[in-house]
Symmetry: D2
Subunit: 351 residues, 4 copies
């Protein structure tokens, strides 16, 4: 199952939660060796100092990204902040054009540079690469990802929303212009940076909406729903911060095009019949974040609404796994020809 | 401020969270004496055995409700399960027609007996009392409550939703037929009964929708929005269980009748200008449950949506206080002529 | 009950949790007016921006401490970091020698300047004031506090530990030289400053010891147990960070001087018979932080150990109330001649 | 890696947390097939109804244990309540003497039948089997376990405590008669049964000691420390319920026999040098439950005390993995000749 020479992996931005979850999963992947870890603010430290739960792993020390020998690597996972990401990836690919890049930032997700400039406040600085990048939602773009050099892994919210809605929009079962998406995320979605609102005493035992009607993930949702619908779309998207570390659940309120909730469920079942990680819940079964914690699975449920002609589609995943590092590894498996589920078969940790 | 003879209060169902929060607040109310506490399954026990946080209070022991001398009481708070409530209250009022009843159950909230029968699965068994009961949403029915003998305090969700939406529907600013209400509640909303899904290990670190499109509080919301709109209404209502003990937040997605989000905010500010407990957040300020925990306050915010012609109205309260026991005490204050805020001025406990 | 002219209060360091809890309680104290709030890093902001749960209060804006008119104040609560506190209080008392100071920092708690220098890493810079300061553990030093100008309110852990152990040491019932104190605190004990280990995703769903055998509160415990014993004492003291916001519980393992656990309980009951806030749990009743959350109460329980000749004394309180702001207000009440319980009678918020 | 014929496993008591965690791990074990799952109160249900996070697994339906064909099984994991366990295991072994039994209950842990009768309130009903059973603390009894038919896996607390203290007692470095063990556990330690004190609203945001000086795990600790010391021992053991689902941390206060804390650490390092799952933290590194959540690892740290001649030994593990199901699988791997770490290499899930 494992070739003698392991594929050499670098993780850039390994001191964030996304980078750490990539390391957690890659460390047990039989095909790869973690050969470089970068975190500029922690350069020189052992990974186990920055993430003590890695005490049992033998990992390379953290370095600055500028000192990495890219020619020694076969792939990099990039968990850096947006903006700097595009410059670093451009430099990496210049140094080693054969390297494969799994970007977990937002830098290459938006197809339209104007869109990027609008949402991120500056012109894109690696336009050619943006043109090359493939949107890394595995179930929608599997073939393109397998052939790609640079994969822009989607945001956690878009992953949950698009897996729930794209097959329904494609099939014309719902109205793409009347989408209300109430999104809820655990606190790791905000990253490991020090912010007052993610302190335990602030975020615990309470619930707060945030970035109402202004969250950047809306741009990805509009883009991909628009692709599915064939026309530009603007969706409502309203995120809430929930007192839990991991997990995300999107409650999508949709208007039916003559279809029933059962029709929607059937369409999703058809779409995901052969997918290893996307599960459509049986009628009456409630998706919940507990079912997917720590795993690469997505669970989707469909419910009839009280209002005639409307339905409710609920989608849940672990924002750090299928919503980020896990999906990146799933894409890596595709790109290197491994079984798509390799290193990702861990069942949800419940309780 | 306090008359020499204290008003004598009984709390029925004192072993539930709602009853306990009534006791917590009533114990510090200068006008009342807690004279009877009932909990049939715990009869004979001290209240401090059932709720150890009352160790410092000198409270009557728990008894069966059948043994209470109603003629010695001026008012009762009723935190019993629905169904049995109507029979007990009928018996209480028969024994002491002058007693005032603050019912925190669902038994007298629905004006239409057919509605009650539909949602609760049996014919109402105290129809005359249902006709007499006043819906106890203080800010909407203050005058009727002040004169009432039997007040049906609203459910926690309806309190949050109706305070946010009724002024807007009354003013014709939003479409009463396109209301999507995504509701989130802490676990105390499910009561103190033993259920697997409210165990710490099940409800903690996770989030789950429940009673999607079937929750009984929808009936109250339909009813009172319908009163405001002057026509029957069916609203979407989708509750979610959040890993926190107290607190509730409803995100209401509304379609505007030509108005703007600012118009909505202005209308709410007008409606609640003189209200002690309902606060409309300034533009850009986010309501969050942390702001109201343990207090009788409601906080409402209004936001423009990304979708043209839509807005988002967010309302939050503590489900056990303004959503139940606190509002009942607010109503009691009205009924007995005390300042409406008496015993309710506690600021939110944050963190 | 209230004099016409309210006592004017300033709260220094009002942007911390301790300062905020002082404001929460003082805002409902009938004898006082909050006249100044300082927070140098937030000067110019409204208090409701820094602590949104104060939306309903009409409070002075935050200022720099240097701009406060001390002559207009009757008392100040000081929730500043140690070190700077002593300099600011010296300046305050120079400007207004009649002002009363409730210091919630560590600056004036240690009687011996050498002790201070050892634990805090620098010479004390207000030695005369340190000589004047009274250790503000109300139940032990009530008379001195009533007459004091400067009260050094104890740390949260020492409050819990000393109330549990001092009466037992004074009575010679336990060995002051064999004290093992396993202490557990909620995350607010670490303050509102931005630290990685108090992020929700780090501190939640986990438990970690910290400052093992090096925590500064040990100095206060040694000092006051030493006073009670009449000889210098060194106690074990091992704190742990618990995933809850408020609350503290100390499990004290003691060696008996021929006494029994029942003797210990009886001694504590005698010591606290007339105390409004210290409750000795009946035999078999377990103290727990839930019983005191948000309140000024302390609950203490005594248990026989499995090891012959040993017992376990357990003490719990809310670290921000009796462990800090509440005890400071209790002391203020003493210093101004109000009933000691004024503004502090709030029952624990449970759940 | 996998033999063609998989080893057939039954899990008895699969509706409890311990049984479920065995299933979670066994489902990804390459050597085994889960062939039978029992849960008498849920017989007939799919496992995914009882534990929805197993939605992606193809598992046998739950049955009553009486209907299992034991002859078709090679091993059973037993997660049943104590008392009934011994009768069921006796029946199983009678039906299939060649089956291997991994018991996760308390029934076969105590070597002395009088001890069992004392702590569990009735005479042991399978004395011959108790004589045969091996105490399944892998690192202490590896050889015996490899040869055993019936392994009594230790309690979660004893696993943490004994791994920390036995090497120190064996080496004579600490006094076996002065052990104070302050233990903290997450709520899953109490099982999935419906109890008021494990409801989210009761156990959350609070901390409570329980079973002080009466917890049954003390019997195992006494027994095995006694074996190591060569004399009977009585240890203090004081458990506390912590608001987290998984994880356990024991803070052990020990008296040194002339040794230093560094000597203790060195002794532990020697004892566990070649152990895959027991890690001794470097000087100054703090064990914490976050480091082991969901994993089979144990982390132990040693600290000098403030009291001369004393030290503090801290041990942490996941109560459902190394404290129960994981250790049982580790033992199964030994008994069937697989690598000891098989299916157990999962890194801690943090955050």
């Amino acid at each position: 199952m494992v070739t003698t020479a392991k594929t050499k992996i670098g993780v850039l931005g390994a001191s964030g939660y996304t980078g750490a979850d990539a390391v957690r999963l890659l460390a047990r992947h039989p095909g790869v060796a973690i050969s470089a870890l970068t975190a500029n603010t922690h350069a020189g430290k052992a990974m186990g100092e920055v993430f003590p739960h890695f005490f049992a792993l033998d990992l390379p020390a953290l370095t600055e990204w500028e000192t990495v020998d890219w020619t020694a690597l076969n792939a990099v996972f990039c968990g850096l902040p947006h903006g700097t990401t595009q410059e670093i990836i451009a430099a990496v690919l210049k140094a080693n054009p054969a390297i494969k890049v799994l970007d977990m930032s937002a830098d290459f997700r938006l197809r339209d540079p104007a869109d990027y400039a609008h949402w991120y406040g500056h012109e894109h600085r690696a336009l050619a690469l943006q043109g090359e990048a493939v949107y890394g939602l595995t179930e929608l773009y599997r073939r393109e990802i397998a052939a790609a050099r640079l994969v822009a892994c989607p945001g956690c919210y878009p992953t949950a929303v698009l897996l729930a809605l794209v097959p329904l929009v494609r099939a014309g079962l719902i109205d793409a212009h009347d989408l209300v998406i109430d999104a809820k995320s655990g606190v790791t979605g905000a990253g490991r940076g020090l912010k007052q609102n993610t302190l335990f005493a602030e975020a615990g035992e309470g619930l707060s909406p945030y970035s109402v009607a202004t969250h950047r993930h809306a741009a990805e949702i509009d883009q991909e729903i628009g692709v599915a619908a064939g026309v530009p779309v603007t969706a409502n998207f309203t995120p809430h911060l929930i007192p839990m570390a991991r997990g995300e659940l999107c409650t999508c309120y949709v208007r039916l095009n003559g279809a029933s909730a059962d029709d929607l469920r059937a369409a999703l079942e058809r779409a995901y019949r052969d997918e290893p990680f996307v599960h459509v819940a049986k009628k009456g079964v409630m998706p919940r974040t507990q079912n997917v914690r720590g795993s690469n699975y997505v669970q989707i449920g469909v419910f009839a609404d009280r209002i005639e002609g409307r339905a409710i589609v609920i989608s849940t995943l672990d924002n750090l796994v299928k919503g980020s590092a896990g999906q990146a590894i799933q894409n890596m498996n595709l790109m290197f020809g491994w079984p798509e589920t390799m290193a990702l078969e861990q069942i949800a940790l419940f309780p």
